[in-house]
């Protein structure tokens, strides 16, 4: 956050709610909570991408995603927070765990979890982070979000918005989900020739269970 002090001349346009009175050194309670939860989330995310135990990575991902849900709540986006918990923590992570198991990922430490690319990856990631943080902070260091007043992301508001203004993309999205469903089933089937030769054999778990997982 120290980069915020650097004087930049980013052409970010006027900042309508520039509140000079809100300094970074006098945080509100919400801000303190946000930062703390953010630190936890970030830490969990870092552990997720660095741990050598694959199953632990999935579990730390749960922590990171949960932390994000809390952040959504702090930002008064209730509906999205619950969707986050339901879909990500509930469904996606379970899927990922199934995937780990079906690909027979080793339980315990695996020494080669990171590829030889990690130093290049670290360089790229740090450089990207530095430049993005610099730009973002430079652009928005004086922008203030007024969290008081009516809740911005309540179910009612989101629902009204979604089914009044966004109903067409919403329906299109349902088609996309259907296509993804069909695609996943097709991908996880064995080829027909395979099946013909395998009729005598008992079906292997990773061969037939995937339809159920989906």
């Amino acid at each position: 956050m120290t980069l915020a002090a650097t004087a930049g001349h980013l052409a970010a346009g006027p900042t309508p709610l520039a509140a000079a009175s809100h300094g970074f050194l006098s945080p509100t309670g919400v801000e303190i909570a946000f930062v703390l939860v953010g630190l936890v989330t970030l830490g969990a995310a870092v552990v997720t991408v660095t741990t050598r135990q694959l199953v632990h990575a999935a579990l730390w991902l749960v922590v990171a995603l949960g932390g994000l849900a809390v952040e959504y709540l702090l930002l008064t986006a209730e509906f999205i927070a619950w969707v986050q918990v339901l879909i990500y923590v509930g469904a996606v992570v379970v899927l990922l765990l199934f995937g780990l198991m079906l690909t027979r990922a080793p339980i315990g430490r695996s020494p080669d979890a990171d590829s030889g690319n990690r130093w290049a990856a670290l360089t790229v990631a740090v450089a990207a982070a530095a430049s993005l943080v610099w730009v973002v902070v430079d652009a928005f260091r004086t922008t203030w979000i007024d969290l008081d007043g009516p809740v911005a992301g309540s179910t009612a508001v989101t629902g009204a918005s979604l089914f009044q203004n966004w109903v067409l993309p919403f329906e299109a999205l349902s088609v996309l989900l259907l296509a993804a469903l069909v695609g996943a089933i097709v991908l996880s089937r064995r080829a027909k020739a395979d099946r013909a030769t395998d009729t005598g054999r008992p079906t292997t778990p990773n061969g037939s269970d995937k339809g159920g997982v989906r």
Binding site: M1, P16, L17, V30, E31, F34, G38, T41, L42, T48, V49, L61, L65, L68, E71, Y72, L75, A77, I80, V83, Y88, L95, L96, G99, L100, L102, T103, A105, S115, G116, N117, W119, A121, L122, V124, V126, A129, L132, V133, V136, F140, T143, W144, I145, L147, A152, T158, S161, L162, P169, F170, L173, L177, A180, L187, S188, N206, G207, K210, V213
Partner: protein, 135 residues
């Protein structure tokens, strides 16, 4: 609340996910990192939506709607992605991205030891990978 807090958190999460995508060897871990990146974007969307809706500049709640869409797409993506990973695992016996190098130059030109910098393959040369792939 300062907009900088969620924005910076979003940036850091994104870059963490980026590192994971680039550095992880297991395909499923790569998918997890992708999820992290998507969530970082979601956080960004939500934060800006809240800011803009409070500033009465924009009343469509496009940020939150897009977040929902992103979540739905992420769910679809993880489903397809896992199906692909499982198909690869079934065909090749591995979900190790380092070993899926069918587009590499042939072994007659580049020995297994002088691959590009930072991607050294332990032990298994391309020939072994091919044999494994066709097994």
């Amino acid at each position: 609340m300062h907009l900088a807090y969620p924005a910076v958190l979003s940036v850091l999460l994104f870059c963490t996910g980026l590192y994971g995508v680039l550095a992880r060897r297991n395909a499923i871990l790569v998918l997890m990192s992708v999820e992290l990146m998507l969530n970082a974007v979601n956080l960004n969307l939500v934060a800006f939506d809240v800011w803009l809706s409070k500033a009465a500049e924009e009343t469509l709640h496009s940020g939150q709607a897009l977040t929902l869409f992103t979540i739905a797409i992420a769910a679809a993506e993880i489903g397809i992605g896992l199906a692909i990973v499982l198909a690869v695992h079934r065909n090749r016996g591995t979900s190790d991205i380092d070993k899926l190098r069918d587009t590499a130059e042939g072994p007659d030109d580049d020995g297994p030891d002088d691959d590009g910098p930072g991607t050294g393959t332990p032990a298994a040369g391309p020939a072994a990978e091919k044999a494994e792939a066709t097994a």
